[in-house]
């Protein structure tokens, strides 16, 4: 721990509604990371962190960042703009298989994809790394890759893919991968029970479609629900509950407008299209997402914590079943772009800050 930041407990008195959230402190676990994007917790207490610039780093159980990046990553990672190395997820049987899954932009600026690959982690090296899936079609420009992953209990993997920005209308066409949630097995193949597997007009891998750029994705083991957040344009950021075969509407329905102020659509809802659980207008630019299930903050259990890039905070969303009963902004005092939020195995809330001197932060109770 290089830095310790105590946050004022007086907020507890000043803002009674924030009592539960204000009583924390933030510790810096590691700093000096270049645009960290995702974190995974290893069984031995180590942590893996991706840097968007194409590096995978190891933090040992004592909190020391290993200087050399992990070797063995693919050499065709496309870095630039929003492109680069994205998510890192451990296989559910990691202790036996040592398998690590990575998402990354691959290709060139004028022709690129989101790629999914896996390798075996040992001694600061990913060995036998192989690309197992590549989204189609190729797109131009380095924006809107999605790239977030989560394993489901049946050992299949959900993966978000953005609309590529210039290709937003493709999000309504499930015959391609743009603007979708994809479901794959561990070899990168479409499982036989995928929702569109027998539909000749849809890609076998598509699980849901009509998304813009989903960068938060979690599975709630208690209910089986899959939560995903996605960036809206100017306004219209969302959290959705993802169900197989459903259309989430983009760009036919949205609460946002183009960055230029142009109206994208007259519709904010439509039959046959799922409305969001949460809509944020103006935008907060949602990033990583976690469902808090740790022991350190009992009052937070069962709530969603959503990182915000533009709004530089974490948004707590309080749930009762599939209904939102309250929201609260926390950690605004950091003034940092939050790229990822995770519940650590120790019950702390872990944050990644999206800066050239990015950090891993750990949020724990003040006392």
């Amino acid at each position: 721990m290089k830095k310790l930041t105590l946050l004022s407990a007086f907020l507890v008195m000043v803002l009674p509604a924030s009592v539960n959230a204000a009583d924390y402190r933030v510790e810096t676990v590691v700093e000096g990371l270049e645009h960290p994007w995702s974190i995974a917790f290893l069984p031995d207490g180590s942590r893996l962190v991706t840097e968007r610039v194409g590096r995978l780093r190891l933090i040992d159980p004592q909190g020391q960042l290993r200087e050399e990046a992990i070797a063995g990553l693919p050499d065709d990672i496309h870095v630039g703009g929003q492109a680069g190395l994205k998510d890192v997820v451990l296989a559910p049987d990691f202790e036996q298989s040592a398998e690590v899954f990575l998402t990354y932009a691959c290709g060139t600026r004028t022709s690129n994809h989101l790629c999914l690959g896996r390798g075996e982690l040992s001694d600061n090296t990913l060995s036998n790394f192989e690309e197992i899936f590549r989204t189609q079609p190729a797109k131009r420009g380095s924006a809107h890759y999605g790239g977030r992953m989560v394993f489901l209990p049946d050992d299949t993997l959900l993966l978000t893919m953005g609309d590529g920005f210039d290709y937003r209308e493709e999000a309504q066409d499930p015959s391609n991968h743009l603007g979708t949630t994809l479901r794959l097995d561990r070899d990168g193949q479409a499982p036989a029970d995928n929702p569109f597997i027998n539909d000749p007009n849809a890609a076998d891998e598509v699980y849901s479609y009509g998304h813009r750029n989903a960068q938060g994705l979690i599975h709630d083991p208690r209910t089986g629900w899959v939560f995903s957040n996605e960036h809206g344009p100017k306004g219209g950021d969302e959290i959705n509950i993802i169900e197989p075969g459903k259309n989430y509407g983009w760009p036919v329905v949205t609460h946002g407008v183009d960055y230029t102020g142009a109206r994208i659509t007259p519709f904010t809802e439509k039959d046959g299209m799922v409305s969001p659980l949460v809509d944020w207008t103006p935008s907060i630019a949602p990033s990583g997402l976690t469902l808090y299930d740790g022991e350190l903050f009992p009052q937070w259990q069962g709530d969603l914590f959503n990182g915000a890039l533009a709004a530089r905070k974490v948004q707590r969303v309080m749930l009762e079943e599939d209904r939102v009963v309250g929201e609260e902004s926390i950690l605004e005092e950091l003034g940092r772009r939050i790229r990822d939020v995770r519940t650590g195995p120790d019950g702390a809330l872990y944050l990644l800050t999206d800066h050239a001197d990015g950090e891993v932060l750990r949020v724990v109770p003040a006392n």
Binding site: G141, A143, D166, T260, G261, A262, P266
Partner: protein
């Protein structure tokens, strides 16, 4: 110089406004047409409402973008008038090329690959250039005056 102010400034303002209005309508139609292409049924009210809202939102954005663009483009055009006497043609081309330039510049400077949705295609970009060409032509015609001391004649 007084002539320059009284003739050129109103003509420039009008050219900017006309271009902003025309490009805004093109942008509205492009987005609505894209919805129709996805099978979305649109009522007349959707068209009217969208065009009207875009005039306020997107039109203002385009006015801000077009104003400095035309300033530079028309200054260059005024110099070119020494060699190319067709005033309307020169200012129309200057406006169109200025629009192309600023669209490319915005795409280069801003994070999205293509900032203005309608310019994702060459047809849309061409229509934006045509709108700016109309603005340029209008400027060329309205700012015409005869003063032997000025190169703008």
């Amino acid at each position: 110089m007084k002539h320059l102010l009284f003739k050129c400034l109103p003509a420039w303002v009008l050219a900017v406004l006309i271009t902003a209005v025309l490009t805004s309508v093109v942008q509205s139609l492009a987005n609505l047409q894209a919805l129709q292409a996805m099978g979305v049924a649109l009522e007349p009210v959707h068209w009217v409402e969208t065009v009207a809202l875009d005039l306020v939102g997107f039109g203002a954005f385009m006015a801000v973008v077009t104003a400095p663009t035309f300033l530079v483009a028309f200054m260059v055009a005024a110099v070119l008038l020494r060699w190319i006497p067709s005033r309307g043609f020169v200012f129309a081309v200057a406006g169109a090329l200025g629009m192309l330039g600023v669209v490319m510049l915005l795409d280069h400077l801003t994070p999205p690959p293509t900032l203005i949705a309608a310019t994702r295609t060459w047809v849309g970009t061409g229509l934006f250039m045509a709108c700016a060409g109309v603005g340029g032509l209008l400027y060329g015609l309205l700012s015409r005056f005869r003063d032997p001391d000025l190169i703008f004649d």
